[in-house]
């Protein structure tokens, strides 16, 4: 196993999936934040993945990189809550448009992908160790 690009591939995937898990955590944590001003409402975050060539000698091998974390442009949900201290002069508060079910599904998908990459890493490590022990 020369160069061992498999570790770069799986490692980059772990980093990318962990960014995705972090954005889900941030979205869920801020799902109930309300504000009296629609422009200052929390906007859900969404990471954008793209491929990352890890080995110049072999361009077909691709890791993952996070191109950026985009803010969603879904309009905030307007609720009439005149008793809320944050309400604006008309008695409305604005909440971010975050679907907890979609976020949970996203979280499960990210955590499964993370587990798969850990498994790849472990298998690759075992195989590399077995190869190092050749002839012993």
């Amino acid at each position: 196993m020369a160069g061992l690009p498999i570790f770069d591939v799986a490692g980059s995937a772990l980093a990318a999936q962990s960014v995705r898990l972090n954005t889900v955590a941030s979205n869920l944590a801020n799902a109930n934040n309300v504000s009296g001003d629609p422009t200052t409402v929390y906007r859900p975050l969404e990471p954008v993945f793209s491929t990352l060539p890890v080995d110049p000698a072999n361009p077909t091998l691709a890791g993952v990189q996070v191109n950026g974390v985009e803010q969603g442009n879904a309009p905030p949900i307007k609720r009439y809550e005149p008793g809320n201290p944050l309400a604006d002069s008309q008695g409305y508060v604005y909440a971010p448009d975050i679907d907890p079910v979609a976020q949970m599904a996203n979280m499960i998908s990210a955590s499964r992908a993370y587990q798969a990459d850990v498994e790849v890493l472990n298998t690759a490590k075992d195989l590399a160790l077995a190869t190092l022990g050749l002839g012993r």
Binding site: F49, T60, L127, T131, G135
Partner: protein, 125 residues
């Protein structure tokens, strides 16, 4: 050097390298399971092995060297195409990875057996 390792280990030296290349490709597929527009790839193993063993023969040193891995890398036919253009089927890739890891171990044990018999021959014990 390649000639010597072919003499010592037969087809298994080339096979081990190709098995590793296949593991790398499948790891790349699994890593990009959520990347938009990523297209899953795999190694056509028999074609790669044919190319690798042909290279170590008479064509070697004639300047005609194509990498057997890039030559035999093929795109997977998607089982369930998705809207974001990604063609990775995670379950299928899991199974392929497990199989490829097992095949790597098999090739490794062939090379190891060869190393052992050579050691026995050298030390005479």
């Amino acid at each position: 050097m390649a000639d010597l390792s072919t003499q010592l280990f037969g087809v298994h030296a080339a096979a081990l390298g190709l098995r590793e290349a296949r593991l790398n490709l499948i790891a790349s597929n699994l890593a990009n399971a959520d990347t938009p527009n990523y297209q899953a790839r795999d190694l056509d193993f028999s074609r790669a092995l044919e190319a690798a063993t042909a290279q170590t023969g008479i064509t070697e040193g004639l300047g005609k060297s194509t990498d057997p891995v890039t030559e035999a890398t093929v795109y997977r036919v998607p089982l369930q195409p998705s809207l974001d253009g990604n063609t990775v089927d995670a379950d299928y890739e899991h199974a392929s990875f497990a199989r490829a890891a097992l095949e790597y171990r098999a090739s490794l044990s062939f090379v190891e057996g060869r190393v052992r018999s050579l050691m026995t021959a050298i030390t005479g014990e």
